[in-house]
Symmetry: C2
Amino acid sequence: MSGVDILGYSAGFITTLTFLPQVIKTYKEKSARDISLNMFLIAAINETMWIVYGFLKNDMVIVLTNAVVLVMSLTMIYFKLKYNKVAKVELE
Amino acid sequence: MSGVDILGYSAGFITTLTFLPQVIKTYKEKSARDISLNMFLIAAINETMWIVYGFLKNDMVIVLTNAVVLVMSLTMIYFKLKYNKVAKVELE
């Protein structure tokens, strides 16, 4: 495996982790007012497209990495719908 | 160009737009309290890795798509640092 390959696999691995800090922050703080629902809707649709593309190309790396990001995007959509408000404690 | 290729290019194009709704929302609302700084820091580092990978592979599609997302990630980092608070009007 060349240095370029290692860079590619490392970049792909980090891509799967991109949304994780947002999922953790929103889970902890129970507030998602500033989060764009459209961003995660677009991301979820886009990752589904990539998963289909990966299956058609028989490329399981594309399928698996996008499946991880899809799960995180769906989690953020759920959090956005659940916590889409300023935390009540701040307004009282 | 096959249907699979068209799907791939469409997916790639939509990938470049993923962060745009978040950039627009944060620009309009001037509030980024619920946004994870770490998410966009990881994204920016990751896109830089993909850009280097694209150059090394001579793949300008990878370079250009990630350059667009990098600009949006850096914009979100700037907004997060600038607007990292609940909008004052709500606390007054």
